[in-house]
Amino acid sequence: MALIEVRKLVKQFDGRTVLSNIDLDLEEGEIKVIMGPSGCGKSTLLRCLNRLIEPTSGRVYFRGEEVTLPQTDVRALRQRIGFVFQQFALYRHLNVLENVTLGLRRLRRMPVKEANEKARYELGRMSMLTHEDKYPGQLSGGQKQRVAIARALAMDPAVLFFDEPTSALDPLMSQEIIGVIRQLRRDNVTMLCVTHDLHLAQGISERAIFLDEGVVHAEDSIERLFGDHEDPRIREFFRQGNGPR
Amino acid sequence: MSFLQICLLLAKGAGHTVLVTATCIATALVTGLAIAILRRQAGAALTRLLSIYVYVFRGVPVLVLLFIMFFGLPGIGINVPPLVSMMLSLGLISGAYLAEVFRGALEAIDTHEVIAAEAMGMTRMQALFSIELPQMLRLAVPGMLNEFTTVLKYSPFAYTVGIPEIMKQAMALASVTLRGVEIYLAAGLLYFAIYQLIRLLVRSIERKFAIPGFAQN
């Protein structure tokens, strides 16, 4: 039984089909990268899995339990998924430590001392401990993203979702985050990453799923996706930007 | 007497309400613009004086200033007609608020455009009238609409100085019939209708003078 199983997921917006019969399996400890051009539906796919967007049809299973039912406790599901956004989405009226402890204090009802301890542990893991009193407005993009990852990790999620984690960062900061994700991979954190950044994909995974116009076109090693692929769309997507390593 | 009849009776005062509102808005626009322009161009002393004027006129209630003009001035020998005392109170106070709206709008204009105009050879005044004011007026539309609506909502005070506008009609009617609730409800709807008319008027003027792509910043 995989951690997450997606079966025939469909999403339509105003008659437009954004996701079409998506099947996906994510095993515990695995990292999967979903790539595709803008508008291919990859961000929508991610949001359907924690029901930030409601799928039109199809089923999603989390640890064997179907979570696309009307009676599913969506909030409990979301607490088990750590979500990292392209725009970092740190709460700008709270400092770094408060950003990380908010979920622990209000959702888990942890006492402040315990929450702070847990937060500091995760911030330390992300090398952001010295900045715990700073506000998001005082941090660089890479620093903000590391706090965002710490915030997600603090809730001890079963899986981390990354939505274009490096797309708002310059190359240097992207490298920072690639390093962080590789570290998490070594710690066996289950991760699902959606991106159009080839450099990121190569840096964190050997395989990738190619999504275009809501349909999975390939799931293969990045090496082969980079090479002379028969599918012209894949060739076009992977040839832009950097070439094969 | 039906509700509709009540509305029609009250509408007799609507003309006076519109007159009071229009004259006060006109006063406010003239003084507000004058202050905004002077504060921009004048020296430090005059600017300081104007800022104090604006502060004072934004710190005094309309009713108090109205009573000063209408009931107070005669005591020192100046007799002011009712409409003029409305203009000197509600109009000037609104003008002070508009001056602030215009100040905010002027600050939002790209100074590079003014520098470019001066580099072309325009004087400060020419730049002001052909570059800054046209933009300022468009940026200030929401603030102006707000202020015009406020003028309408303070116009009922005119009844205290004897102007027979909607409120006065309502009070007269309420004292003869015993249907105060319906009468004041009708008055409220009448004012609301005039408010919608003002909104439509301002919006259509805004559309007529709109500049494509202007509000992107």
């Binding site: 924690n50 930030l52 909030r75 599901l77 979301r78 607490q79 998924i81 979500f83 956004f85 392209q86 725009q87 989405a89 740190l90 709460y91 700008r92 009226h93 908010l102 979920g103 209000r106 959702l107 700073k134 506000y135 407005g137 005082q138 941090l139 965002a148 809730m155 | 004072v56 710190g59 005094v60 209630p61 009713l63 108090v64 200033l65 009573f67 000063i68 009931f71 107070g72 005591g75 020192i76 609506t149 309408l152 909502k153 009922p156 005070f157 205290t160 409120m167 309502a170 009070m171 309420a174 015993l178 249907r179 105060g180 609730v181 009468i183 004041y184 409800l185 409220g188 004012y191 609301f192």
Partner: protein, 222 residues
């Protein structure tokens, strides 16, 4: 100016009533500032509702109270309701009327601040598993209130100035007492100018307090 000394002597003699009026002004202002603030948050919360009917109704409420003179509402309650058998005190009418009016304005300010929020923060909060109410209390409200401080303190100033309207429904606040003073010694000009100066002084106090509040609420790095 002639007659200032006798005028000031009159003021001194009438001082207890003037003070009483001032306290009534401050009382009304304080109450409606608080209730209008709380009401504004409530109306703002409703304006974010998922139900389209609730949103429509809230928008109509706000639109109506922003587009109608407060005095009409006050007269309706004070002079109209007794004919239906409901007699309310001037203070009660003023509080109810002002609260409904001020809530509408405050809700508008909060909504405009809300439009300046980063929507991804709200999405992140939902993704963390917070309920709609929690997102509102923990993320939306703190930021929106901070951003609205200038508008909300401005509204407090307006409340103080507009409290003078209450004299028209026989609430004996400061302006009413100023008129009593003027009626006694026929020094209308001096009495009303004095009233204006007193309002100006009170407004200035609020302005000072507002500036201090704004300084304390600025976020580092904002």
């Amino acid at each position: 100016m002639s007659g200032i000394i006798p005028f000031l002597q009159d003021v001194l003699a009438y001082w207890p009533q003037i003070l009483d009026g001032l306290l009534n002004t401050l009382l009304l202002t304080a109450i409606i500032t608080v209730t209008g603030f709380a009401g504004g948050i409530g109306v703002f919360y409703l304006s974010l509702s998922r139900s389209r009917e609730v949103r429509r109704f809230t928008e109509a409420y706000i639109s109506f109270f922003i587009g109608t003179p407060l005095i009409v509402l006050l007269f309706l309650m004070y002079y109209g309701l007794p004919q239906w058998g409901l007699r309310l005190s001037p203070l009660a009418v003023a509080v109810i009327g002002f609260t409904m009016n001020v809530s509408a304005y405050n809700a508008r300010y909060l909504t405009s601040a809300y439009k300046g929020l980063d929507p991804s923060e709200l999405e992140a909060a939902r993704a963390q598993g917070f309920t709609t109410a929690q997102v509102f209390i923990l993320i939306i409200l703190p930021q929106v209130l901070r951003l609205s401080v200038p508008a909300l303190t401005n509204q407090a100033i307006l409340n103080l100035k507009d409290s003078s309207v209450a004299f028209l429904i026989q609430y004996t606040e400061f302006f009413a007492q100023a008129q009593e003073l003027a009626a006694r010694n026929f020094q209308f000009f001096k009495a009303y100018v004095l009233a204006a100066l007193v309002y100006l002084a009170m407004v200035s106090l609020i302005v000072l307090a507002a500036r201090m509040l704004e300084r304390r609420l600025v976020l580092p790095g904002a």
